[in-house]
Amino acid sequence: MNRKQRKMLIRICIAVVLLIAAIVIEKTGLVRRDGTFGFAFYLVFYVLIYLEIGYDILRKAFRGVINGRPFDECFLMAFATIGAFALALYEKSGDYTEAIAVMLFYQIGELFQSYAVGKSRRNISELMDIRPDYANIEKDGELLQVDPEEVEIGTVIVVQPGEKVPIDGVVVEGRSTLNTAALTGESVPRDADVDDEIISGCINMTGVLKIRTTKAFGESTVSKILELVENASSRKSKSEEFIAKFARIYTPVVVYSALALAILPPLARTVFSADGGAMWSTWIYRALTFLVISCPCALVVSIPLSFFAGIGGASREGILIKGSNYLETLSQSKTIVFDKTGTLTLGVFEVTGVHHATIPEEQLIEYAALVECSSSHPISKSLQKAYGKDLDRSRVSEMEELSGLGVMGTVDGRKVAAGNIKLMQRLGIDAGDCHSVGTIVHVAMDGEYCGHIVISDVNKSTSKQAIEGLKAAGIEKTVMLTGDAEKVASKVAGELGIDEYHSELLPADKVQKVEQLLSQKRSENDKLVFVGDGINDAPVLTRADIGIAMGALGSDAAIEAADVVLMDDDPLKIAKAIKISKKCIGIVYQNIIFALAVKFGCLVLGALGVTNMWAAIFADVGVMVLAVLNSIRALRA
């Protein structure tokens, strides 16, 4: 609670105590109401309480009128309560408590709202508490703490265990594990060793790291993320625009209706009805009740708060949503288009099988890896990875690389050939074609066929589950686009359960395909999402209704082009993002419907004279409190 809020709380307490005192004095008959003294005593007493609790509202209302803005909530509150006072005086009922109670509850509501908003604001900034406060620089053997903004590119900074990495860079000394939870929502720590690239915002857990910075603070991952999240709520969603517009017309409409309610029925009664008279005070009272309900705060506060909480909750999961509007669009997504490589598959090639081997599989891989050891081809890398041990290059001699075919060489004194089917044919070795999808490396030793190794891109372990999750989240169609061969595409699509795929596409074809899919949509409200890894697909990311870039840690281009950025490359996060957006939009609609229903209900009951001002203020403040509490739910994804 800040100073302003504490002051308000004290004022509210004083008002409550005084109000109780006034009622007690009256009930015990300490000062009797009849007579001029009693009348004056209570009037002054109640006016004092009223001023104590409401002086700032009165002042604001006055200034609003002077500045030509008559319809603000302060004015409405002031007008309604003063009106209630005047009626009490006019009717000589002496019941001033109503005006005071309205003002009191209004102030309690305002206090609660300011407290709740402040609290959730703090919660969310704690979630995003990745901003480093300082960077350590070693100078003459001592560590100096400096402002990260002042650290120049290429400076060596020291990060101690428990500290945040302040700036992106490369490890020059030390070894440690890093906690990336604040960035990715992923709780498994990552290892960091010399020459590893480190992104800012991670927490160093075990060892001291010396890092040579490669970026300025402002360009570092942590600054980019913070900037993105903080600016997110300035891109307003349609619901927010609707509420802003609604609030602008709602209040004047209610005020004019109140005016009509105060004047027309009594006039009608005077003209048409003989009995009972005009009943001016009854109708004026009803009109004042109208004014109390007219404040649109429940909506104006809770809707942006829901979006803010939703975006905050998502960023906690490593899902950065660039604006409320994107959150809203995401919740309406029906079609998801994936880029294959790097999104559904790992985009790295791995040995996925060894077939028809006449020698032990490990030996086959060992020989293939050895003979390919000096080749820079990605195939060679994946063979080495599959072998898993350090290669003894001295075992290999007479290496020869045959472009477009493969390699030949001598390993441990035996002639080894590794390459495609054409190489085998040239050597006159009989090798069968393989039915597997991927790149096939046939291996022959001393002129005899030894078997072949299948190397292919592998599906991410969570891809299948992610597609299922998306279906469960209400996605109607999944489409995969790829530049790969038809055979590969159909296999991946089949394995993952993707509805539709298009293969052998050039980057430009992908844009066309997405446009074609956009034109097939059944209605404007069915949105199309494109998911890519942010490399080479910026045009498609921009063209789709929503572009999601995956694994964007450290990739500026992807952060620029996409509307939603997934910090790590787990496809499960896509389903999660859609679930979060649906929950958040659900809360927004609940609040809109609930608040409007209660308000209109009260307006109708108020006009009929069923409710009084007490009920009206309870409706107004109560709806707001409930709506705000409901909004905060969006924070927990």
Partner: protein, 72 residues
């Protein structure tokens, strides 16, 4: 040119009013108030004197919301 300022304001509606007021101020091309982050982003028209414009923006905001603060 775009600049971001810290602001202090109590209610979301007032923040909307401040945004409207800032947008109508001379020399401001566009303005956005982020009530949740308590920030105002102002895009100035070309050649506008940012200090002077911000003074006007502040004045306009004070008119709609007497309690507001802008840190510029």
């Amino acid at each position: 040119m775009k600049k971001t300022y810290k602001i202090d304001v109590d209610c979301a509606n007032c923040a909307n009013l401040m945004q409207e007021a800032a947008r109508k101020t001379k020399g401001v091309a566009d303005a956005n108030v982020n009530f949740m982050a308590l920030k105002m982003t102002v895009e100035f028209e070309e050649g506008a004197d940012e200090k002077k414009v911000m003074k006007d923006v502040f004045k306009a905001c004070r008119k709609v919301e007497p309690d507001c603060e802008i840190d510029f």
